[in-house]
């Protein structure tokens, strides 16, 4: 098992390297000068532009800058914000936890709800319930999650006055954002579970179990469902990455502090070190998550290990 984990980590190295390079390119891919572009908006003098270029090391050759960037990463230095001069690592450390919390809670809601919803839709195929689930999921993946968030606020905050429309502190202020964010993931998990459930119910071993006179309940939930869930696990990994990025929009809709707010603000102000840091962290998180999912997958389904 450890060997599989290590081999999976090794095969992720080129991807991590690529992610780092891509985040470096955010500031360097375009001809022209990001500092001049940024400062010209605020009306800086050429001398100020030169000073900032020197400070960021932009006056050195690109290759030198690239290795400097790599070296800084190894030493855990992501530079400083061009606007607030705050350390990027500090900024990320402050703003990553709320986003992570939001995404994790949404995932924690989406997995059981989606599985239950999808499993029953598969079992009662073509019933009114199945049609309802299919309709519900089709609609909820077709609307922006942040719009769902706004609708929930209108209903539960503006009309009914039950829950806060924005804010950070209390657990109550998390309910609507988590609901809005989880909806899309619930639908994706439900659809995948339904499809796999239908697939599994066609298998011979289910027929065998029926022939042996096992109770329908044990056939569905002990024989069929666990097998139907194996492929769903990989999908959950992908979904989590999407939820993490989706949280950026939810933060904007609910005026919550988080990585998304920081990233959007930095993009608008061309604060490149912050953009690089936020993008890098999100992408690395996604890569790491997929390794974990792969390993989990191999633990559950031993066939994978020999591929």
């Amino acid at each position: 098992m450890l060997k599989f984990f290590l081999s999976r980590c090794v095969s992720a190295i080129p991807v991590v390297f690529g992610v780092v390079t891509l985040s470096f390119l955010i500031m360097h891919a375009l001809p022209g000068d990001p500092v001049a572009a940024m400062l010209s908006r605020s009306g800086a003098t050429p001398a100020q532009i030169e000073a900032l270029r020197a400070e960021l090391g932009l006056d050195k050759p690109v290759v030198v800058q690239y290795f400097g960037y790599l070296w800084n990463l190894v030493t855990g230095d992501l530079g400083r914000s061009l606007i607030s001069a705050e350390r990027v690592t500090q900024l990320l450390a402050d703003n990553l936890p709320p986003t992570l919390l939001l995404a994790s809670l949404a995932m924690a809601v989406a997995i059981p709800v989606g599985i239950v919803m999808g499993a029953f839709a598969g079992i009662f195929r073509r019933s009114w319930y199945d049609h309802f689930v299919m309709g519900f999921t089709a609609i909820s993946v077709s609307v922006p999650a942040f719009w769902i968030g706004l609708m929930l606020v209108m209903l539960f905050s503006v009309q009914l006055g039950w829950l806060p429309a924005s804010g950070q502190g209390s657990a109550r202020s998390l309910i609507l954002p988590v609901a809005a964010l989880s909806l899309g993931a619930i639908s994706t998990v439900a659809r995948a579970t339904r499809t796999n459930m239908l697939e599994v119910l066609k298998q011979d071993y289910i027929l065998t179990a029926r022939a042996q006179g096992k109770s329908e309940l044990s056939i569905l939930f002990i024989q069929a469902l666990p097998n139907a869930l194996v492929p769903v696990i990989t999908m959950i990994g992908l979904q989590f990455g999407w939820l993490f990025a989706g949280a950026f929009f939810i933060e904007a809709a609910f005026s919550r502090r988080g990585l998304g707010t920081v990233l959007v603000d930095a993009i608008q102000k061309s604060d490149f070190p912050v953009v690089q840091g936020a993008v890098l962290v999100t992408a690395l998180f996604y890569v790491g998550l997929n390794i974990i999912i792969d390993v989990l997958y191999a633990v559950i389904d031993p066939k994978i290990r020999f591929d």
Binding site: A138, L150, V158, V264, F272, V275, V279
Partner: protein, 276 residues
């Protein structure tokens, strides 16, 4: 081609989806004729009026007619989706075809690069590109387009791998066709069905991403009649004029739902085996 159109017409979901898309396209094309008001005409005295016979969907903070803005917004939003998918599809499919056809080390390298791009959730990749190019509607289209390339490359490469083993490809090669001719005249038409399904699905994804980026203030700037920017406007007056945020979202829902359903339907029609 004709039989494909006929099959689409016979397929109930396809008919429904196409009908929605046709309605929105007509609204977009005939916007100046259909819209009752100028979408940019701010009448401050008519600010935040609820839906009525005069203003079917009410007015926004500046007193602009929301129905007219949604109709004009269809022009922007539908075109964003088209251009973004055109970028993803043309570049992605070309990469996938060439990479899959030649295989070997080149294919390996290309797939590694695709892996790296896939390490970014699509929307994050799009945001990074907006950070590079700067904010604005055109840059958002480019960014969303690039964000979708990987899927097209993967899907088209997948079908090339099976198609290039077919006898007719051998036949083309032995009759002296150039590689370019084999790829684009013989392989592409046969690799096209899954790409078409993906294109339809991506259209919805592209529209959602672009409106999302505009909502964040990275795309179309606020006075623009664009659905995402309208939602961002509507959010600010959510307490007093909920209609300003409700209707643009419903418009997005219809178009994205239609393109997703159309994708499903095309897959059904082209490959009835995988229907559940």
């Amino acid at each position: 081609m004709l039989s494909f159109a006929a099959a689409c017409y016979r397929h109930r979901t396809a008919r429904f989806a196409i009908a929605i898309l046709v309605v929105f396209s007509v609204l977009a094309i005939l916007a100046p004729q259909i819209a009752p008001y100028d979408p940019y005409d701010a009448r401050i005295l008519e600010s935040m009026m609820p839906p009525s016979g005069e203003h079917w969907m009410g007015t926004d903070l500046s007193g602009r007619d929301i129905f007219s803005r949604i109709i004009y917004g269809a022009r922007v939003s539908l075109v964003i989706g088209l251009f973004a998918v055109a970028i993803s599809c043309s570049i992605g499919t070309t990469i996938g075809l060439i990479s899959g056809y030649y295989g070997g080390r080149f294919d390996n390298l290309v797939m590694r690069m695709i892996d790296v791009m896939m390490a970014f959730p699509g929307i994050l990749l799009a945001m990074s590109i907006v950070a590079m190019l700067g904010t604005g509607l055109v840059n958002v289209i480019i960014a969303v387009g690039i964000g979708g390339i990987t899927e097209f490359a993967r899907v088209s490469r997948g079908s090339v791998l099976t198609i290039k083993e077919e006898v007719y490809v051998d036949a083309a090669r032995s009759s002296g066709c150039s590689d370019a001719r084999i790829i684009f005249r013989h392989i592409l038409p046969n690799a096209f069905p899954p790409v078409l399904v993906l294109a339809s699905m991506s259209y919805g994804w592209a529209l959602l991403s672009a409106t999302g980026l505009s909502f964040l203030g990275l795309g179309a700037a606020p006075p623009a009649a664009e659905w995402g920017a309208m939602l961002s406007d509507g959010r600010n007056v959510m307490w007093d004029a909920p209609w300003a945020a409700i209707f643009p979202g419903i418009a997005i829902l219809f178009v994205v739902l239609a393109s997703n359903l159309l994708g499903d339907a095309i897959r059904d029609i082209l490959d009835p085996k995988i229907t559940d």
